[in-house]
Structures are given as C-alpha cells and as structure tokens.
Symmetry: D2
C-alpha cells in the first residue's frame, strides 16, 4: 500500500513529553515496563469513573462538568503514557494503526 496521508500525528506531543521528562531528569524512569504499568494505572482510574454507571449514564457522562473534567484528565493521562511508550519503543503509532486497519479490513469485510 502507498500511504500518502497520516491518520494520526503524535510528533508534537512526543517532543513535548520528551522535553518535559528531560527538564525533570525523569528519562531514567521511562523504561517500557514502567510506562506500561503507568498506562495500566491510568486506564484503571478511567474505569473507576465509569464502574457504577448505567450505560445511559455513561453515554451522558460528559454533560456533568465535574465528571467531564475527571474523564478529560484520565483520557489525557492514558494518551500521554501511550505516546510516551511508543516513543521509548521507537514505534511509529500511525504506521502501526494503518497496518492494523488493513488487517482488520481483511478479517472483517464490510456488510454488502
């Protein structure tokens, strides 16, 4: 396949997070398994927001300003650890996603 267009651009965030780590001498902590466990922790905090909600409440969760704020913070944390992990592994998230989309499209053909 000839990929002309990125579906996902993370470079700005990758640079920012690297600088953030360097300014605090945190690079030493950013080993893959550490970042993966941090990702698990943040996904867990996201789950805690939704754990006692009905499906209807979950669908409307962003209408409550306080809940919306908590969700934004946890979604941001998940995103940042995921992008940081990709950086440390030198993994191109956009390329990985494009490849997986092709694989999924073969595996699950669209309805007629």
């Amino acid at each position: 396949m000839f990929m002309t267009t990125k579906l996902l651009v993370t470079q700005g965030l990758e640079d920012k997070l690297l600088q953030f780590a360097r300014d605090r001498d945190w690079e030493q902590y950013y080993a893959p398994r550490n970042l993966l466990m941090a990702l698990v922790g943040e996904v867990g905090e996201l789950a805690e927001i939704f754990q006692w909600m009905t499906e209807a409440e979950a669908a409307d969760a962003m209408r409550n300003p306080e809940t919306a704020q908590r969700i934004r913070e946890e979604m941001a944390d998940v995103t940042m650890y995921l992008v940081r992990l990709a950086s440390v592994l030198r993994l191109d998230l956009d390329a990985a996603v494009q490849e997986k989309l092709l694989s999924n499209a073969r595996k699950y053909p669209p309805n007629a």
Copy 2:
C-alpha cells in the same frame, strides 16, 4: 489559554474508525463502557508481551521482528480503542492533553 498549535492530531483516524464501524453496523456496540473494557483487554494483551521480560529485554523488545510485530498490533489496538472512546464521548484529546500538560507543569516544576 490560547492554543495555536496542536500537539496531537486524531481527526483522520477518528473519521476512518467511524466509517469502519458504519460499514459493519458496529456503531451499536460502541458505547463508552464497552470501548473502555475493550481498551482494558488490549492493554492486557500488551502486558502479556512484556510480563516475563527483564528490563533489558523490554528495552530491546523491538529488535526481535516477531515480538515487534505483536507489540505494533497491540499498541495499534490500544490506540484505536482510545481514539474511538474519545470520539464517542465527544472529547477533544488534543485539548485534554494540552490542559493536563499545563497542570502537570505547575504541579512538577522543572529542575533549576
């Protein structure tokens, strides 16, 4: 705050995933808690790749082509469910990340 530059661009992937779901009548399944549990599942699969590795092995994990392929696939799955969840919640991941970065910078001042 006046944001002039995006750190993270997900629109292309959001559109693609929405189209993918529509073409398969999967939109009905993409409720927030479902997507969150799917995210948990994919983070779990990522953890399984790294669970018995030493830190040194984890740092070199991408050098093994077969392991690298598995990591790319799971990282792609985590990314796609995260972006899909943000879409369904109508949450702007870039804005959420920018806000959290400002908050983190206040909380953890850089070294002198």
Copy 3:
C-alpha cells in the same frame, strides 16, 4: 477427578461481602460488568504502587511500612472484587482453580 480437598476457601468472605452490600443497599450496583470494572480500577491502583520501582525495590516493597500498608489495601480490594464477582456469577472459584491447575499441568509437564 475426585476432589477431596479444597485449595481455596472463600465462603466466609463471600457471606461477609454479601451482608456488607445488603446492609448498604449496594446489591443493585453489583452487576458483573460493574464489578469487573471495579476490579480493573483496583488492579490499576496496585500497578501505580509498583510502576516506578526497580525489580529490587519491588522485591523489598513490603519492608517499607507505608508502602506495605498501601499494598495490603489494594491487594485486599482486588481480592474482594474478585470474590464478589465470582459470587454474583455463581462461579465456584476453588473448582475453577482446580480445573485450571489440571489443564496447566497437562500443558506444561514438569521438568524431569
């Protein structure tokens, strides 16, 4: 197989947790997916304790009284949601574990 001995006894805790829920009108919240998400949340909190530790620090984590206390609390929470989930599903954890041990023993024969 003829099982004469339990490897795991959870009945006391199951009864206690059921009574605890009844006394607070919480039974309505204890649906399987809710309990599973609560389990995810507690496993996430456990991961947060260990995420920046080296392997050596993790092996000694219980020697620090404050860290040990946090670990005990999160391990207790994980255990209680797991046992509650098994109750709600009417799943016999001891039988499930015994069956899985037999299956694992067939799959991974011991060293000679």
Copy 4:
C-alpha cells in the same frame, strides 16, 4: 483486633502454586512486577469476554456453557496470579481483607 475466624483460606493454593513453579524452574520469573503484569493480562482477558455484552447478557453469561468455561478459566487465572503475588510479597490476604473490611465499615456506615 482479635481475629478468631478466617474469611479466606489460600494456603492450599499457595502451596500448590509454589510446587508447580518449583517443578518447572519457574520461580525465577515470579517477581512481583512480573506477576502483577500477568494479573493485568488475565484481567484483560476477562474483560474481553464481557466487553460487548449488555448488562442483561452479562448477568446470564454463565448459562452459555462455552462462555461459562471461558469465564471459569480466566477467573481461575486471575485468582492464581493474585494468590501467587501475595505469596511472593509474603502478604497475608486474609488479614489484609479483614483489615480493609473494618476500614470500609467505618467509612461507609450501614443504612439505619
């Protein structure tokens, strides 16, 4: 506090799992962070079973023999890694649970 009765007995399973590991030279892999990541992996597999279910389907999940079998296997895996982790940390799960129950009872008084 004077504890006269155990709510949870795990000794049989702890002994069995230790023997299982010794017979396969697996003790070297059973470091706390490894076991924690393995626990995350198994919780993820459990989440995958329930991720697209409605609440009603989840409540009836054990009526389908094939689904019930998968749930029993994943619940067993979660239980075994949790108990193994407690062993490796030399943490008494029953004592941890009893302490947390007292703390929860103080924090959330029962309804009048």
